[in-house]
């Protein structure tokens, strides 16, 4: 069974961490993955850096710029990950924009993902309609789960459609914003979490954007299955390098 699906069946609130591959140092990717698994993180999103990340705020863009300057590429990432499955069993998702994947070749990219043991992809600028018509069969062939985003403004019929096409979880964007731009959730956001949970979707929801600490993690997972932290973790890496990852994880989810 796909590692993501298996993880979602566990009876706990899931904590996922996003980091940009090749950051802070180009060869940190594997060590960060290992450290996140050791510290009890439930699944990981490995960011594939892009020159023009539209949906991201300054923190993630800056980390991408640095990774690209150090020479990070799709090929480099697959090279770094080639033995990852002999080291970790945690579900791994690659999050990246569509253009680098298109240049690599979608079919070839999916095949490489399967080869190194990637479980799913998040491609923010590949709309569900295009995916469904043109790429779903390729993803399925290589056993990859494609994860879609919804926002507080996504109409109900579109959420239903996304739920139908999805087979894993739904990435619930907490507020209308780019990554790393909110502090704490207001009543309106909590009402949105509740509204979605009451839709009885077949896919569990995992909240992203605006999760940075224990409070926001607890608020987000009151109704959802899990939550994803990105920018706050990148800031931690920026300050501490790849050391003390356990301090960060403990500050979000004390044992």
């Amino acid at each position: 069974m796909n590692r993501i699906k298996q993880k979602l069946q566990e009876d706990k609130k899931l904590l996922s961490i996003y980091f940009t591959s090749g950051y802070p140092e180009i060869e940190d990717t594997v060590e960060i993955i290992k450290s996140l698994e050791e510290n009890g993180v439930d699944f990981i999103e490995i960011g594939l850096p892009f020159s023009d990340p539209l949906a991201d705020g300054p923190t993630i863009q800056e980390s991408s710029t640095i990774a690209l300057k150090s020479g990070m590429t799709s090929n480099k990432l697959f090279e770094q990950l080639k033995d990852i499955r002999s080291e970790v069993s945690i579900p791994l998702i690659i999050m990246g924009y569509f253009n680098p994947i298109l240049q690599f070749g979608v079919e070839k990219f999916c095949a490489k993902c399967e080869e190194v043991g990637i479980d799913g992809l998040i491609i923010p600028d590949l709309p569900v309609d295009v995916y469904n018509e043109e790429y779903k069969s390729v993803f399925d062939k290589h056993g990859l789960k494609n994860i879609f985003l919804i926002t507080p403004q996504t109409p109900e019929d579109r959420i239903r459609f996304i739920d139908e096409v999805s087979d894993g979880f739904i990435y619930m964007v907490s507020t209308a914003s780019v990554t790393g731009s909110t502090k704490g959730f207001g009543e309106e956001t909590k009402a949105y979490f509740k509204r979605i949970s009451e839709m009885n979707l077949k896919n569990p929801q995992v909240v992203g954007f605006g999760i940075s600490d224990e409070d926001t993690f607890n608020d987000a997972t009151q109704y959802a299955k899990g939550a994803i932290i990105g920018s706050a973790f990148i800031k931690h890496l920026n300050k501490n390098g790849k050391n003390n990852i356990q301090d960060f994880i403990k500050s979000v989810r004390p044992v």
């Binding site: 949906a55 710029t65 240049q103 600028d125 403004q153």
Partner: protein, 393 residues
């Protein structure tokens, strides 16, 4: 076969809407309504009245006699340089501000490179009394101080884009992020035929007034609606889209697109997207763009700030790929010389963007009785410093 956008915003294999889900409601709202709104009588009436009384349309179609004589063919100049604010950009911003009002938006955002589109947007926002925020690369803000001052005089807030390479593509990224953060009250006025569907088609339709007027004016002057060729410079490609629009599906009219070769196509300092670009996604559209093998978008170069965009609109990508359009690239040098030549022969100082279109006559020969319309997209006032430095005037 048509060279217009289909229902899903595709020109052949190019176009579409590759946008993050956060933008879906905004773009979808626009997509569902733009054609209906544009068809409304009240909209057309208001749009046309403003183009006439505020922009100063129709702009003349001028027979450039001395220039024609030099190149031994018949050259007409479509004088978009005489539009209010100095370029064709205002045709689109007038259209989009009226669109924004009908969609109930009370906040306008825009991106700008050299500042021409920013000024045209700030102008219509002042006209309508609507809040205006213009994103501009930090480097461009330094290079284009007079346009920054103009936008400020017009009441716009100019926000520096500090990410990435700090130029036009980054200003566009910042504007898109603003739109993601403000999904309800804000309309994004994109300045060219780029971005997700419906933008390329909507902007082309607002600029289509250019070729509509050419048809009428050419009928008066030459007793024919169709020239043999229509020539325009292409950065993102909005003036070209407007100049070609009514001729796209008429094979009798040759379409010539002129790109900026910068210091030479293969020098690494160029913006000749058709020669250097590969298919990919930029700012929500599948098109030709300049990028690395790894799919990272690269920074183009041209002496003309209006042409240094790493992509072209999907309409132009299709015109190139299908062979419908003839693509020529012109170096900085050749463009500057052509600009100076037009000044001396016709008493018109063109924008450096438009100078690229004029420079093709040196090598691209036409028949003596060919009628060639060149879209003179803007005037050269904004480029005086560049002309002064270049020719040591």
């Amino acid at each position: 076969m048509t060279y217009q956008a289909d229902e899903k915003g595709y020109y052949g294999e190019f176009g579409g809407a590759f946008i993050p889900e956060m933008l879906y409601p905004n773009v979808e709202e626009l997509r569902r309504q733009y054609l209906d709104i544009m068809k409304e009588n009240s909209f057309q009436k208001e749009f046309k009245a403003l183009l006439k009384d505020y922009v100063g349309r129709p702009t003349p179609l001028y027979y450039a006699e001395r220039f024609s004589k030099k190149y031994n063919t018949k050259v007409y100049l479509k004088r978009e340089d005489l539009c209010h604010t100095g370029a064709h950009k205002v045709n689109n911003t007038i259209g989009q501000i009226l669109m924004a009002k009908r969609l109930g938006k009370n906040r306008i955002i825009a991106e700008t490179g050299a500042g021409q589109h920013g000024v045209a947007t700030a102008t219509v926002c002042a006209l309508m009394g609507i809040e205006c925020i213009v994103y501009m690369g930090e480097i461009d803000i330094e290079r284009q101080a007079p346009n920054v001052a103009r936008m400020k005089m017009l009441g716009a807030k100019v926000v520096p884009a500090k990410s990435g390479s700090k130029t036009l593509k980054d200003a566009t990224n910042e504007a898109i992020r603003d739109w993601i953060n403000n999904p309800v009250d804000t309309h994004y006025i994109i300045g060219s035929v780029v971005g997700p569907h419906p933008y390329p088609d909507m902007v082309a339709r607002f600029q289509a007034v250019i070729s509509e007027e050419i048809k009428t004016q050419l009928k008066e002057k030459e007793n024919r609606e169709n020239p043999d060729y229509v020539v325009a410079c292409v950065g993102g490609g909005s003036n070209a889209a407007g100049a070609y629009f009514h001729y796209l599906d008429n094979p009798e009219v040759g379409i010539i697109a002129v790109e900026a070769a910068g210091k030479g196509i293969y020098t690494g300092e160029s913006a000749a997207t058709s020669a250097l670009g590969k298919e990919g996604i930029i700012h929500g559209s599948k098109t030709l763009l300049m990028q690395t093998d790894d799919g990272q978008i690269t920074e183009p170069y041209s002496i003309s700030a209006g042409l240094d965009y790493p992509g072209v609109g999907p309409m132009h990508a299709h015109l190139f790929r299908s062979g419908r359009g003839e693509f020529i690239s012109i170096t900085d040098d050749a463009a500057m010389k052509a600009g100076l030549e037009l000044a001396k022969l016709e008493g018109i100082i063109p924008a450096i963007e438009s100078s690229h279109a004029l420079a093709i006559f040196e090598d691209r020969k036409f028949k003596e009785d060919d009628v060639v319309v060149v879209n003179l997209s803007g005037r050269g006032d904004k480029d005086l410093n560049t002309y002064i430095d270049y020719f040591d005037l």
